[in-house]
């Protein structure tokens, strides 16, 4: 009995001695040796621990013994673990916490890039800005034209960037090229972009020096990223002064998949009846189309996206024939069919490796009737792309991959006047198999300096030419919110199809970019200034170098340059509920290409362009007002009577746009009412002049109407039952 008691007592004493306490004390600091106050310091799986004081110091008693893990955590820092052996002897520690990667205001490659995204919290533009910018008329391109680097070219579609033509900008959706991102139009009338800004969660507009991932664009890349899964199932409807549309988007019950579709119909007939036009539309512009999308999330890091688009349009225009003295008119009619589908998948293999696979198909058919001729232009582009990314640490990475494009162009000419059959009919048909490989690495020497080094290799089976384009950028932080970056790179592009039809063996056209950028970005203010120099080589020329062989006229004998300075300032802070941005672009560019006999400032370029965009939100009435003013100096035009080639200038360009939108929730329907007027002052902006072949008669090229009015209501509503429940209670 006594033994038993003794034994038990001994056991209890032993148990108690096991509970002997160890004092743990020390200090928690950050990488720059500043104390971290309020950090949580504790022994894993036990109650023991404490918070650090204002000086980062801590001290507590731990009851466990032996091997334990000490945990240290604090908001905005990485959680740190540390093995410890506790044996009753006091431990004094200095613990250094690393700032969480999300907190490091890391340097980013910014030369040439303007980003509009919702993902990163501080960007120059949010996707919503694109929709609410006056004068943009809900067109992505329209909004981007208020940013530095772009030209105000009212008579053709596309983005004319830094002395480049509209063809030198490529549009990319989820990594895949879109062959025809703009509606097919008639000559001298700019058409809109095909895709609604609401499709995209992020937009990167690069005006030069972009990643080796993208090729075949000498000036600019417009990189669009589609929305992920919607937040809920919803329907939408729109009625506007030019048409109507509707859509539905259904989210699966477990919120991992969604399916959606929409349609829209635009008919400008009724509008043209109300608002007189400067031109005669002999076929009323009508557009009808729709799209389907499907998204599936397989895990937190993997996503499958499908997007399919189809559209039909018709339009026609009549203009007086300047060569005719007895009132002949030139007729131009167009029927267009366009399809675009895009399927992409991306996933993480593990912590280090990520992969991306994509496929796309573009089909475009323009059935054109200029006067009595009939031309059927068909373009098909099939594309496949694979990309692998390997992360090194939390910042550095290596990205590489390959791309294949099959590009087929057919041009079928019928009924050519004054030519006897069967010679009045001919056809071009070319196919280019294009392969490319790219690799680039982002090396962070610290969170303040990053270098991107990479290159792209391309081969065209049609031209039977290869090229290797180096691309490099470097950026370093000069302050908490500011940084300087520099980019250099070569950018190749195959000549336009119409020249390849005649001579498939043409060389790539080439541009070399040098960009120096400074930017200061705060949460509500952005300042950015960028200087660039761009050199053009191997531009296609259409003047026969040897007059003895006038037929032999297509060569890569052109060249040119562009240099300039751009400033951008955006401020949402100074005045509450006001938001404004100012951009200014200076451009000095000359080129000798196509039929230019000498180096000259091209018709699409002007030295000074400036935009001011103002937005004011009035919360009490939920009204959004926006005004945009754009100014540009005159552009060169060709006057056959004038001795200097492209020596004359159009008058300066001024345009004021205004939009008001009012948001209201009625029952469970969100409605946005929009009223907009473009070119409020009704100024007759002259883009260029058309001349008769003898140069005696001329006609200005202008917008099709002095002002453009827009009225519309956009509605969206929840469609599942939970939505009703929510709105009723």
């Amino acid at each position: 009995m006594k033994h038993a008691l003794l034994f038990s007592t001994a056991f209890l004493l032993l148990a108690l001695s096991l509970k002997a306490q160890t004092k743990i004390s020390g200090k928690v600091i950050d990488a720059s040796k500043h104390p971290v106050a309020g950090a949580n310091v504790y022994v894993k799986d036990s109650y023991d621990g404490t918070s650090t004081g204002a000086d980062g110091s801590f001290s507590f008693l731990a009851t466990d013994t032996g091997k334990v893990t000490l945990m240290v955590s604090m908001i905005t820092y990485d959680k740190t673990e540390m093995p410890l052996v506790l044996n009753g002897k006091e431990q004094t520690l200095t613990i250094v916490l690393k700032q969480a990667a999300s907190q490091l205001k890391t340097v980013v490659i910014s030369a040439g890039t303007i980003e509009a995204s919702d993902e990163k919290r501080i960007t120059m533009l949010k996707p919503l800005d694109i929709v609410t910018t006056a004068g943009a008329q809900g067109d992505i391109t329209g909004a981007l034209k208020t940013l530095p680097g772009t030209q105000q070219v009212g008579e053709s579609e596309g983005l004319f960037v830094r002395g480049g033509t509209g063809n030198e900008t490529k549009t990319i959706i989820d990594g895949m090229v879109v062959a025809k991102p703009y509606f097919s139009g008639v000559p001298d009338v700019a058409s809109r972009g095909r895709f609604s800004p609401f499709l995209f969660k992020g937009t990167v507009f690069s005006t030069g020096g972009y990643s080796a991932q993208y090729g075949q664009a000498m000036s600019s890349a417009l990189v669009l990223e589609t929305q992920d899964l919607p937040d809920r199932s919803s329907g939408s409807a729109a009625i506007t002064s030019v048409g109507f549309g509707g859509g539905i988007n259904k989210l699966s019950k477990d919120s991992t998949a969604s399916i959606g579709g929409d349609f829209n119909y635009t008919n400008l007939g009724p509008y043209y009846n109300l608002v007189p036009q400067n031109v005669k539309w002999n076929v009323t512009p009508v557009f009808a189309g729709g799209s389907l999308n499907f998204r599936k999330k397989f895990s937190e890091t993997s996503m499958l996206k499908f997007y399919g688009y189809g559209n039909y349009s018709q339009l026609g225009i009549s203009r007086p024939n300047l060569d005719s003295t007895n009132g002949f008119v030139d007729n131009f009619k167009l029927n267009n069919q366009n399809y675009y589908t895009n399927l992409t998948f991306h996933a993480n293999l593990n912590d280090q490796w990520k992969y991306y696979i994509g496929a796309s198909y573009s089909y475009n058919q323009d059935d054109i009737e200029p006067n009595a001729i009939r031309i059927l232009n068909t373009n098909q582009l099939s594309q496949g792309k694979v990309m692998l990314t390997r992360a090194f640490g939390s910042l550095s990475l290596l990205r590489f991959g390959g791309e294949f494009q099959d590009n087929r162009d057919v041009s079928d000419y019928k009924n050519i006047p004054n030519v006897p059959a069967p010679y009045n009919h001919f056809k071009y048909d070319i196919t280019d198999d294009y392969t490319a490989g790219f690799a680039e690495t982002d090396i962070f020497l610290s969170s303040k300096i990053v270098a991107r080094i990479g290159g792209r290799y391309e081969y065209s089976s049609l031209q039977q030419k290869a090229n290797l384009a180096p691309r490099t950028s470097i950026a370093f932080k000069t302050g908490a919110n500011s940084q300087v970056s520099f980019a250099y790179g070569d950018f190749y592009e195959r000549p336009e199809t119409r020249y390849l039809f005649e001579r498939p063996s043409l060389e790539y056209e080439k541009a070399t970019h040098y960009i120096l950028n400074f930017q200061h970005v705060e949460e509500k203010r952005t300042f950015r200034v960028e200087a660039f120099y761009k050199q053009y080589q191997n531009l296609v020329t259409t003047i026969a170098p040897n007059p003895i062989f006038p037929e032999d006229s297509l060569f890569n004998n052109g060249n040119g340059y562009a240099r300039g300075l751009e400033v951008f300032w955006r401020d949402k802070k100074t005045f509450a509920n006001w938001d404004y941005w100012v951009s200014y672009s200076y451009l000095d560019t000359k080129r000798q290409y196509l039929n230019y006999p000498v180096l000259a400032q091209p018709v699409f370029a002007t030295p000074h362009t400036a935009s001011l965009v103002i937005k004011k939100y009035i919360p009490s009435v939920s009204l959004n007002l926006s005004a945009t003013y754009t100014y540009a100096t005159g552009r060169p035009y060709y006057d056959p009577r004038y001795p200097v080639f492209l020596g004359e200038r159009t008058p300066d360009y001024h345009k004021v746009g205004f939009t008001a939108s009012y948001i209201r929730k009625i029952k469970n329907v969100f409605s946005v009412f929009v009223v907009g007027v473009d070119n409020v002052l009704g100024r007759d902006n002259i883009y260029s002049y058309r001349f008769s072949s003898d140069g005696l008669r001329s006609e200005p090229v202008t917008a099709t109407a002095a002002r453009m009015y827009f009225v519309g209501v956009f509605m969206s509503f929840g469609i599942d039952r939970t939505q009703d429940v929510l709105n009723n209670n």
Partner: protein
């Protein structure tokens, strides 16, 4: 003799277990008391740290992570801009942990509703519709799981209060819901001394606010 030793041993082990449970309750009570007196981010951080430590030891209890999340949600009310998201990110992580320990818990859904509604503050123009909707969904689920829980009513009323009238909110819309919340608070009995029991004063305050012209 051996039997007695074994008995003694079992008894001491059992006692230490009860001790452990008692310790859990008392430490929780102490921290809850501290939480009620918090007024600053630093204060909430200290209590949140304590709850995180308790969670670290009591892996089967959903309340320590619940309160750690709640403290972070409260911290987000005391800051502005992107900082709100930082606190909400942590709050969400703790809330998810609680949910994995105690699924289909009305209180955790109410907590999630609170976190979503906090996130609206980062950019009401862009986020109002998205996070307002999510917050509403969480409230609906919370009510479904426990119709007597007053907190989803408080949060719903609060949401309506801060939503502009053009978007279906406003004082007049908020008042009946908040009055319902107050009524439910009068009869609400927390499951234990450490179960969620916050919001009553806030609900009364909001009703007064709504009645002000």
């Amino acid at each position: 003799m051996k039997k007695i030793a074994a008995l003694f041993l079992t008894l001491s082990l059992a006692l230490s277990c009860i001790g452990q449970n008692k310790k859990y309750i008392s430490v929780m009570e102490k921290n809850l008391h501290e939480m009620d007196t918090c007024k600053t981010i630093h204060g909430y951080q200290m209590v949140a740290n304590s709850f995180e430590r308790i969670a670290n030891a009591e892996k089967k209890e959903w309340l320590p992570t619940y309160y750690a999340a709640l403290c972070h949600a409260f911290m987000s009310t005391l800051t502005t801009g992107d900082k709100i998201d930082e606190y909400c990110d942590i709050a969400e992580k703790f809330a998810n942990k609680s949910d994995s320990i105690s699924p289909n818990n009305s209180e955790i859904y109410a907590l999630r509703s609170l976190i979503y509604s906090q996130r609206i503050g980062v950019n009401p123009m862009l986020r109002g519709a998205k996070f307002g909707g999510k917050s509403g969904e969480m409230n609906a689920k919370s009510k479904e799981l426990d119709p007597n829980n007053p907190r989803p009513y408080l949060l719903q009323g609060q949401g309506k209060f801060y939503t502009p009238p053009q978007f279906g909110g406003g004082k007049d819309k908020a008042l009946p819901i908040l009055e319902e919340a107050v009524k439910k608070f009068e009869t609400f009995k927390p499951a234990s001394s450490i179960a969620p029991n916050w919001g009553k004063e806030r609900a009364k305050q909001m009703v007064e606010e709504c009645k002000k012209k």
